[in-house]
Each structure stands twice: as structure tokens, then as C-alpha cells.
């Protein structure tokens, strides 16, 4: 097995024993990137200084207890890195070089991680397939001709193809969990407020959360430990002690109550997806967990609620791209004309569509009917979960109603694309954490993901369940 195919914790052991150096790992990753990147296109930018980063680590200190020391990690291209081009997958930011680091980048830098590059994504994270990137689509490493999911499709594909050991993505409506599911890797959206959003290019500010991708649950816990914590620079980050999430990986789920929501096992979900998830639930029951039937009655309203809240917030957040402060500019006859031409030329179709929808639902006369109404329904969705978690410790569902779809299959019908997030969106609206773990493949060889949702700040519960399943499937 090549070094780039190992996990963080396996590499860490070898580093501690001095069997290998960070440079050895970097060289294996670089070799993989040169071999497969032209087919996968996981990255918008591959860093050419990985070896220097590794060399600097050697000088800075020797291998410590730090589990991310010397580990190559890919970063979704919507997280600011000082001096490194950060585009959010958009033409409007094609030349943007941030003058500061996001909170998570500082954390990883201090932990001794090595940055491999900036991962491809749907433009401004608007999408579920990574096809809306200005820099071209990412391909699913598991099967040719299929999408990797999105919007963090590059981050998922980089980890699945071993072009990075782990990666960071962001999740506004499923953008970590859905591509993790479609690429057969582990992906987690932490509780809203667990990880600082400082330096994350904003999409839907009340929904956005940064989280890890990895090839096993242990690495997910390791990366979550590294990026969590309070940050005064993000006023929505929560000042709550961060537990050692690795300690949750006991392997035991005895007595754990698994909530199975009837609204998630409906007609229209792929038969093989359903079978794989049912099998995973049985596996956990065999380990001593107990199945509890629950109901989340407002599930059918989640997508509609989401596409009001998320586009309203996105249209406000994207007002800042005006050709004045940074990014692309297209000259016009006057200031307003310059704004209009810059934005028309700089934004792709899906970004324009969402700006239009968001502007409409916030416009005079419609605010109460749409944005206010949606935020009231959001309360009902949150209350569904509060009630359900009175009976269950965790909630199990499919991550995505279908396995990966073909490139181009859903690009002409935005509503069909939106509906592919039907099982992941509610967790963002409620703010609760969720993880997707691989639970088998279809006959065609496409991965299926099991989603495990937990109570607020109960990342330990979902990691415990995910780990027990992973060890015993």
C-alpha cells in the first residue's frame, strides 16, 4: 500500500516510529496527483510548495503528539488562505488572493498539517454535483462519467482518490455529507457554531458550517478535534469546551436508541440505497442498539424552506461582489452599469438564479410571505427534531435518495437538482450535527452513504455509532 492510501492515524504511527518523514508522504501524494488529477479534477489549485512545507516542518519540530503533523490536507476553495488564490469556484473571484487566513487554516497550520491545494466546488457552493464550478466539473473517482456530488465535490474526490489524506469542506444544505456519500468516504457537518466560519466565503450564514472529509471515522474525529473551538471573530461560534472526540470511538452502541424516521423511507428513494441503509441499521441492532420508530412530520417542507432561507441569505452575501473591492471587474458607462456588467460577467448561471430567487423573496411586499414564513416553518422543523431526540439518541437515514448520477443528468432542471438534498437539508435548518459513512455499493459499483444525525453538540454520539458500524459492517 502506498503512503497516500493510508489514514492519518496510520501515518501518524509511522511518523512517531520514524519509519517515514512528512516528505515521504508528500511525495506519495504528489505522485498520485500527477497520475489521476487530469481525470478527476479534484483541485482548482494544486500547491507546488508541498515539499517545502514538509521541509519546514522538519526544521520546526520533530514528530510530536500532534496527530495532524505532516498530514497532507486539501481545502475547499471557499476558505481563505493568506497569499493563496481563493476563488469559491467563481469567475468573479478568479484572481482573489486573501490577505488573511481563515480560523480553520490557522488551526491546521499550528497543528503541522501540510496543505495540498484548493479543492474544486460548485460556484459559491451552489449545487449538488460540482458541475457549476467556473473551472470545470470534478469527476467521481469511483465510477467514470458520474458526478462526485457537491458542492464540496473536489474535497470528497481528493480524499476518495487518495490525492489527499483528509480534507475540509463546507455544508450549507448537505454539501459535505452528500458528496461523501456519493464518493464513498466519511464526511461530517458539525453542530452550527462548533467550528468558526471566520474566513469562510459566506453562502447562507445561518446554515454554513465547515467540516471534515476522511477515509475512516477515526480520522474524522481527529480532524474535528483540530478545527473545533470558540473564535471571538465569529460571533455565532459557541463558547463550549471541545471534548476529545476520539474517546467516543469505543465500538460500543449497547442500549443506544436509533431513531428511524418514517418520512425518510418513502417512495422515490432508490431501492438499492434503501436496502443498504436497512442493512446498516440491522448491523447496529445486532451490536446492541435499539430501533425506535420516530416521525419528523415537517420533512416534506424542508426543501422549500431551505431554498427560501438559503437563497435570501446568499443574495445578501453576494451583494459584496461589485467589482470595487476585489475580484473581477467589467467596466461600464457609470457606477451602476459597472456593477451590473461585472456581476453579469462574473457570476455563473446557478449563482444568478439563486441571487434572483433570493432577491425576489426578500423584495418589498414578499418578505412576510416567503422569508418570514420560511423561518417559522424552520422552527417547526427544529421542534420535530427536539421531539424526536426525546425518544432517540441518534437518527439514521440515507444520506442521499439516490447514488451518484451521471454528469449532465440534472443540470437543465434546477428543481430536480435541489431535490437531491432532500435528506440532508433539515440538519442545516435545525443546526444539528450529521455524518455520512459508507454503507455499501450498488450493483453498478456506486457507493451508498448512511446518515447519522445527533443532538446539538453531540458529535460524540454520531461518531460512536459511525465507528461501531464501520468496525462491524
Amino acid at each position: 500500500m502506498e503512503l497516500n492510501e493510508l489514514t492519518c492515524h496510520e501515518l501518524h504511527e509511522k511518523l512517531v516510529k520514524k519509519e517515514i518523514s512528512p516528505l515521504d508522504i508528500v511525495k506519495a501524494v504528489e505522485k498520485q496527483i500527477s497520475a489521476s488529477e487530469k481525470d478527476i479534477h479534484a483541485y482548482i489549485t494544486v500547491f507546488d510548495d508541498m515539499e517545502q512545507q514538509a521541509a519546514l516542518l522538519d526544521v520546526r519540530r520533530s514528530t510530536s503528539d500532534d496527530p495532524l503533523y505532516g498530514i497532507p490536507i486539501a481545502i475547499k476553495d471557499n476558505m481563505c488562505m493568506k497569499g493563496r488564490k481563493t476563488t469559491a469556484g467563481s469567475k468573479i473571484l478568479h484572481n482573489f488572493i486573501p490577505p488573511y487566513n481563515a480560523f480553520v487554516i490557522e488551526k491546521l497550520k499550528n497543528a503541522g498539517a501540510i496543505f495540498t491545494g484548493k479543492a474544486n466546488m460548485d460556484e459559491f457552493a451552489f449545487g449538488s454535483s460540482t458541475e457549476s464550478s467556473h473551472f470545470g466539473p470534478t469527476k467521481n473517482p469511483r465510477k467514470k462519467g458520474y458526478v462526485p456530488g457537491g458542492s464540496s465535490g473536489g474535497s470528497a474526490a481528493a480524499v476518495a482518490s487518495c490525492e489527499a489524506i483528509v480534507s475540509l469542506g463546507s455544508d450549507t444544505g448537505g454539501s459535505i455529507r452528500q458528496p461523501a456519500s456519493l464518493c464513498g468516504v466519511v464526511g461530517m457537518k458539525p453542530t452550527y457554531g462548533r467550528v468558526s466560519r471566520y474566513g469562510l466565503i459566506a453562502f447562507g450564514s445561518s446554515l454554513d458550517q465547515i467540516g471534515p472529509f476522511s477515509r475512516d471515522v477515526t480520522d474524522c474525529a481527529i480532524l474535528l478535534n483540530a478545527i473545533s473551538g470558540y473564535d471571538p471573530k465569529d460571533s455565532t461560534s459557541v463558547d463550549k469546551p471541545v471534548p476529545d472526540h476520539k474517546k467516543a470511538l469505543s465500538g460500543s452502541v449497547k442500549g443506544m436508541k436509533l431513531g428511524i424516521p418514517k418520512e425518510y423511507f418513502i417512495e422515490g428513494i432508490d431501492v438499492e440505497v434503501r436496502q443498504a441503509v436497512e442493512k446498516a441499521i440491522k448491523a447496529l441492532e445486532k451490536l446492541g442498539a435499539r430501533r425506535v420508530d420516530i416521525s419528523l412530520p415537517h420533512t416534506e417542507y424542508a426543501v422549500a424552506t431551505y431554498y427560501i432561507v438559503a437563497t435570501a441569505e446568499a443574495s445578501s452575501n453576494l451583494e459584496r461582489y461589485d467589482g470595487v473591492k476585489y475580484g473581477h471587474r467589467k467596466e461600464g458607462e457609470n457606477l451602476i452599469d459597472m456593477y451590473k456588467k461585472t456581476r453579469a460577467d462574473g457570476f455563473g448561471k446557478e449563482a444568478k438564479r439563486r441571487i434572483m430567487l433570493g432577491t425576489y423573496v426578500l423584495s418589498a411586499g414578499y418578505y412576510d410571505a416567503y422569508y418570514l414564513k420560511a423561518n417559522k416553518v424552520r422552527t417547526l422543523i427544529r421542534q420535530d427534531f427536539e421531539k424526536a431526540f426525546g425518544k432517540a439518541d441518534v437518527i439514521l437515514t440515507p444520506t442521499s435518495p439516490t447514488p451518484a448520477f451521471r454528469i449532465g443528468e440534472k443540470t437543465s432542471d434546477p428543481l430536480q437538482m435541489y431535490l437531491s438534498d432532500i435528506f440532508t437539508i433539515s440538519a442545516n435548518l435545525a443546526g444539528i450535527p450529521g455524518i455520512s459513512v459508507p454503507c455499501g455499493t450498488t450493483k453498478d459499483g456506486l457507493p451508498v452513504g448512511l446518515q447519522i444525525l445527533g443532538k446539538y453538540f453531540a458529535e460524540e454520539d454520531i461518531l460512536r455509532a459511525a465507528f461501531a458500524y464501520e468496525q462491524n459492517k
Binding site: 452550527y192 470595487v324 475580484g327 432577491t359 435548518l429
Partner: protein, 95 residues
């Protein structure tokens, strides 16, 4: 709610987007379809329900009114498409 071409032009102006004729046509049809789907929410009675603005409720977040490290003027201008003597430069707005 029915959305027509005039509404699309009105919103595009609010959003400061210059749309092509093709885009106007495409968005009219697509937004109409999406809004029809979204209207599903009107089925629900939400009288007396408090809206959620943040999923994890926090009390007011205060900090000391003290300056911390921040970007220099030069750094803040480093990405500007046009600048002049320490300022962002835009097309003339005063005759």
C-alpha cells in the same frame, strides 16, 4: 404567485444583474416553477410560531470595544481592480 418577464427584469435591476434576453426567458420559466414548488409552505398554519433566525440560540454577543490587529490599508487594497492614492477607485459618480 405567478412570475412574468417584467418581474424578472425588476428583480434583476434590484440585484444589479444585467441579464441577456435568453436568460430573462429561461429565468422566468424556472423561477416560476421553483416558486410554485415553494408555495407548498402556504399549506402550513404558522400562526403564533416564532421564526428561527439562528439555529443555535445565543444571547447578545458582546466584546470589549478595543482595537485588535487588523489589515493595513495596503493589504485591504491589495485585491482592488482599481485604486488611487489609498482609495478604491470607481467610475465618476458626481458630475
Amino acid at each position: 404567485m405567478k412570475i412574468d418577464r417584467k418581474a424578472v427584469e425588476y428583480i434583476a435591476n434590484l440585484a444589479r444583474l444585467a441579464l441577456t434576453e435568453d436568460e430573462k426567458e429561461e429565468f422566468t420559466a424556472q423561477l416560476d416553477k421553483i416558486l410554485a414548488y415553494i408555495d407548498k409552505l402556504s399549506e402550513l398554519d404558522t400562526k403564533g410560531v416564532e421564526p428561527t433566525t439562528h439555529a443555535v440560540r445565543l444571547k447578545n454577543v458582546f466584546r470589549q470595544d478595543k482595537a485588535g490587529p487588523s489589515l493595513s490599508g495596503e493589504e485591504a487594497l491589495s485585491n482592488a481592480p482599481a485604486k488611487d492614492r489609498g482609495h478604491f477607485k470607481v467610475p465618476r459618480i458626481i458630475e
